[in-house]
């Protein structure tokens, strides 16, 4: 029985420990084995009703609790981890390999955690391990972005722990099941999940740190942290109304930034938030169809989003940057990467026969069935927006547009294989969605391919693309420019530091002027006193300290003598 109860994070942590002391092919084999064997084991042998706990003092840490929800996320995390290991095999950086394995393992740990304390442990491990994928860039910019990232992630963990304890105070339970907003603990935990899920105003760690990570790191980061948060929301807050509106805002505001951004990995980061919005919104609706939609979307999204990040990683690796303004024409020398990127772009844009379509349809259909017309319109607007930044902008400006003259070599073979597997899965899910639908946690009867729906989606996408063509030809489209676009991070990167600097300056000035005023006053009083007739009296002169000590000791001796004399 031990074999079925093997918590899925263990193979990853084991492989991380072994990878630390091995190099070359042996290290590669170990890294490939962890997600492959772990994933096969989970798929073949682990049923949906396992609970395995580890007693620590008087507390039971539930290290493994399987149900269909955690299993689906477990499957996709294993698939993604395997693909990403293949993708990163060319790296000779053990730090990143080990960090990546611990990071993926922590995601498994959090996914299969059965109680909030176990969740908290892996929640923090996710933060601490992933930051090395940013720091591994070994630049000042990456170091600083990593620290900002870590502050946010650890803050999320602290909120989770505080929330869990308050939740326990009210409910007497630390089980990681439905949490809801019935007590203050629930709100704190929602905030903790919200940070990791990049809720509006809490999202800047993502758009700040992912573009600063290593060329492979961004793809790895894009898979786990935010999707663990989606999983946590789906378990803790299904049907929580506020999530519908948070999700709808998340789909809409980042696409404006994505249009402006020049750094294509930052474009993808904004696009990631937009995609999370669809899932958050679906979780907020909370019906079987919409929750399945959130899970299916997360499943499909992990594949196509990492595929897009991988293709940009390949460009980054060969060219050294991913600024849209300085790229173009790369299809001539990187045709395979181009084709794979386009498959990712078609998937994220939800073109029929690609994975995004079969997942997003669930959410959109259910929104209409629930009568959420305004939210549906927002998501429809965002769907057209996705086509702009992820569907067209990323492949178009990197690989086509004007010829930059750059002729980098095609991506390394291992990168191409990693991207190829992911691309095949994107198409397979799109063409044969019944297999994905069959593993979804809730019962449903749904099929995405009917004439009405396919036609509607094709019209939406094609006419949005037509608008792009029209604006490009007419020159209405905003040019790609090297720039910084202010976002909520302005508050802590500019306003607060400037405010702190001003406050410190102000306090310093206040201190100096107060001291000058006080000493001046004291001096004036002394001068005035010195000129008065009283000053000539003997006792008002300033005495040396020694004489004062002398007279005090005399007084004390007198007290002592009086005490001895009068005690009886």
């Amino acid at each position: 029985m031990w074999m079925t109860e093997l918590p899925p994070f263990i193979p990853f942590f084991l492989a991380a420990a072994l990878a630390l002391f091995t190099r070359g092919h042996l290290q590669s084999a170990i890294m490939l084995a962890a997600p492959l064997l772990g994933g096969l084991h989970l798929w073949l042998y682990v049923p949906a009703d396992i609970v395995y706990s580890l007693p620590i003092l008087e507390y039971q840490l539930i290290l493994m609790r399987t149900d269909q929800l955690s299993l689906v996320f477990g499957y996709i995390f294993h698939i993604a981890a395997f693909v990403l290991v293949v993708y990163t095999l060319h790296l000779k950086d053990t730090l990143q390999h080990v960090a990546g394995l611990v990071y993926a393992g922590s995601a498994m740990g959090a996914t299969f955690a059965g109680d909030l304390i176990t969740l908290f442990i892996f929640w923090e491990l996710l933060a601490v391990s992933s930051v090395f994928l940013i720091w591994a860039n070994r630049t000042t910019e990456a170091t600083q972005a990593g620290i900002r990232y870590l502050v946010y992630q650890v803050l999320s963990g602290v909120l989770l722990l505080a929330g869990a304890l308050i939740h326990h105070h009210y409910t007497g339970s630390l089980a990681f099941d439905f949490i809801g907003l019935n007590n203050p603990g629930g709100w704190l935990i929602l905030l903790a999940f919200g940070i990791k899920c990049a809720f509006p105003f809490l999202h800047t760690w993502l758009t700040d740190a992912y573009p600063a990570s290593t060329h492979t790191g961004a793809a790895v980061l894009s898979v786990f942290t935010t999707k663990v948060a989606i999983y946590a929301l789906a378990r803790g807050y299904p049907g929580t109304d506020i999530l519908i509106y948070i999700g709808a805002i998340m789909t809409c505001f980042p696409i404006f930034y994505a249009v402006l951004e020049n750094d294509l990995r930052r474009v993808l980061s904004y696009s990631l938030i937009n995609q999370l919005g669809f899932m958050v919104c679906a979780i907020g609706i909370g019906t079987a169809l919409s929750l399945n939609g959130a899970v299916a979307h997360a499943f499909a999204h992990i594949l196509y989003k990492s595929l897009l990040f991988m293709s940009m990683g390949a460009v980054m690796y060969r060219v050294g940057h991913v600024y849209a303004s300085d790229l173009g024409g790369l299809y001539k020398s990187m045709p395979k990467t181009t084709a794979l990127c386009i498959i990712g772009a078609a998937s994220i844009s939800a073109v029929p026969l690609f994975s995004g379509f079969v997942a997003k349809s669930l959410v959109m259909t259910e929104l209409l069935q629930q009568g959420q017309i305004v939210v549906w319109l927002m998501l429809l607007f965002a769907s057209a927006g996705v086509l702009h930044h992820a569907g067209i902008k990323v492949p178009f400006f990197a690989f086509y547009a004007h010829d930059s003259g750059l002729r980098p070599k095609e991506a390394p073979v291992n990168m191409l294989i990693g991207m190829f597997i992911t691309a095949v899965l994107c198409i397979a899910i799109g063409v044969q969605p019944q297999y994905l639908y069959s593993i979804l946690p809730w019962e449903m009867d749904y099929w995405p391919y009917d004439v009405t729906h396919v036609l509607a989606q094709l019209q939406l996408l094609m006419f949005a693309a037509l608008a792009f063509v029209w604006m490009e030809i007419k020159g209405y489209a905003p040019p790609e420019l090297h720039s910084v676009n202010l976002d909520a991070e302005w508050f802590y990167r500019r306003l607060v530091p400037a405010g702190v600097q001003r406050s410190v300056n102000f306090l310093h000035m206040a201190k100096v002027s107060t001291l000058t005023m006080l000493t001046g006053n004291i001096q004036r009083m002394q001068n005035k006193f010195g000129r008065s007739p009283v000053a000539r009296y003997h006792l008002s002169e300033s005495w040396p300290t020694g004489s004062m000590v002398f007279w005090i000791s005399i007084i004390l001796v007198v007290y002592l003598l009086l005490d001895i004399v009068f005690y009886k």
């Binding site: 299809y331 750059l406 019209q459 720039s483 676009n485 202010l486």
Partner: protein
């Protein structure tokens, strides 16, 4: 990476080929637009029954997005070294 100014001519290097592809694209758009009036659609809400609703929505949404972004750029764009710490 190597920069070779005189490398071979690609299909997309010729403007007439690009125009040919665009023409195919325009035809597809026209057909999709026309399909709305031929195919019977199973709509869920009244809004969808508006002729070619999705096509119009897609086009307008895209244009609005770009216009919105241009307005946003006026508000948020700063120099590339805006956040650089000068020590």
């Amino acid at each position: 990476m190597a920069t070779k100014p005189n490398d071979k001519e690609y299909y997309l290097d010729k403007p007439e080929n690009v125009q040919r592809l665009l023409n195919v694209f325009y035809v597809i758009c026209a057909l999709l637009f026309a399909a709305d009036f031929i195919v019977h659609r199973h709509t869920k809400i009244a809004l969808e029954e508006f002729p070619a609703f999705y096509a119009v929505f897609g086009f307008v949404a895209f244009v609005m997005l770009v216009i919105g972004s241009i307005a946003l750029r006026k508000l948020v764009m700063r120099k590339e070294n805006y956040y650089d710490v000068d020590d």
